[in-house]
């Protein structure tokens, strides 16, 4: 039972760590200095949340793992993040749209998690909810401006919607690891957040002149450890220092 909670926490922590790492990839490469600071800032918010969740997961697991063990010494198939967060940055439109999708979802999630019977979850939720509000504002304003900007920026945003929307349904999947804890009021149901999420994304899409995608269907598998090839490259880069220098400290 406790190992199920570990798995459920790893799903959450992996989402935050992997998207946080994706944002950090912009450091030194963003289209303008202001975004060069803003994107890694948001990445650090997510990595901070991941750290708390990994530490918690490490203490409830019988073999006592550190946050570094969980972040840097697991292989691709052991990562339980949803596919959306591991998608490559591609360009600025992909990046801010992915951020809007994820932060809108996580804000709803943490808002429900404030009612959890687990006080560590409540603590994480209180802090992360405020961070997600800012991520929504930052990425949402950009989505609106790209959509309502030039022909070129509108085209790039529509391409990003085409590429990424199909990954969003996986956000709402209550995995077997979660169901017990949802019933016990320890973790919120993801499925229950879907209609609110669609409403919020749709209201931003309207301002951005983006038609809300009508297609059914999804790409998923991340929660089962089945990832795209890109996650392997991300992990190779993210874990290389820790694996080359085990136990190294700052």
């Amino acid at each position: 039972m406790s190992s199920n909670l570990t798995q459920a926490l790893l799903e959450l922590a992996d989402d935050n760590l992997i998207l946080g790492h994706r944002l950090s990839e912009w450091c030194g490469h963003a289209p303008m200095l202001e975004e060069d600071l803003a994107l890694p800032n948001m990445g650090l918010d997510l990595i901070g949340t991941a750290r708390t969740l990994y530490s918690y997961a490490g203490t409830i697991e019988s073999n006592n793992k550190s946050e570094d063990d969980l972040a840097f010494l697991r292989d691709e198939r052991e990562f339980l993040n949803c596919l959306l967060v591991e998608r490559p940055n591609v360009n600025f439109a992909h990046t801010v749209l992915k951020q809007l999708y994820f932060s809108t979802f996580m804000k709803l999630y943490w808002n429900e998690a404030l009612n959890s019977k687990d006080e560590i979850i409540v603590g994480v939720a209180g802090k992360a909810k405020k961070e997600m509000s800012y991520h929504i504002r930052h990425s949402g304003e950009w989505v609106i401006r790209l959509g309502d900007g030039t022909t070129e920026s509108n085209k790039k945003l529509l391409e990003a919607v085409d590429a990424l929307h199909i990954y969003t349904n996986e956000l709402f999947f209550d995995t077997p690891n979660n169901i017990y804890f949802i019933k016990k009021d320890i973790l919120p149901s993801r499925k229950a957040l879907k209609s609110k999420w669609e409403k919020e994304i749709n209201s931003i899409f309207k301002m951005a002149f983006v038609p809300y995608p009508e297609f059914e269907g999804e790409l998923s598998g991340g929660r089962l450890g089945l990832h795209g090839e890109e996650l392997g490259h991300l992990l190779a880069s993210m874990q290389s220092v820790h694996r080359a220098h085990p136990g190294a400290k700052w």
């Binding site: 303008m32 200095l33 202001e34 600071l37 803003a38 800032n41 504002r137 930052h138 304003e141 401006r145």
Partner: protein, 94 residues
């Protein structure tokens, strides 16, 4: 870049009771984006409780060539400084 994202001056209030201080400038397309960018660029180390942004173009500056006529006349008028009074000790730091 300056055409689509003009320059803004950023003012931060470090604490309640203090005034907003000029901290620098940044590029942004409009006021909403300027506030966001100011938050990201200038308050990462917990510097502030309030942000003002002003389009740089709205600021009228004194002419550097007129610095002499503007500022030199005050140099020899030290009697304008409130340093010729004895402050009672009970008043403390002023």
């Amino acid at each position: 870049m300056t055409k689509t994202t003009p320059l803004w001056e950023v003012f931060i209030r470090p604490r309640n009771g203090l005034s907003h201080k000029h901290v620098g400038s940044l590029h942004a397309s409009d006021k909403t984006m300027a506030i966001n960018a100011a938050r990201d660029v200038y308050t990462r180390r917990n510097e502030g409780t309030s942000i003002w942004v002003v389009p740089s173009i709205s600021i009228t500056a004194s002419d550097p060539d007129k610095a002499d006529e503007n500022f030199e006349p005050s140099e020899d008028k030290i009697y304008r400084h409130p340093t010729f009074y004895d402050i009672p000790e009970d008043i403390g730091h002023m």
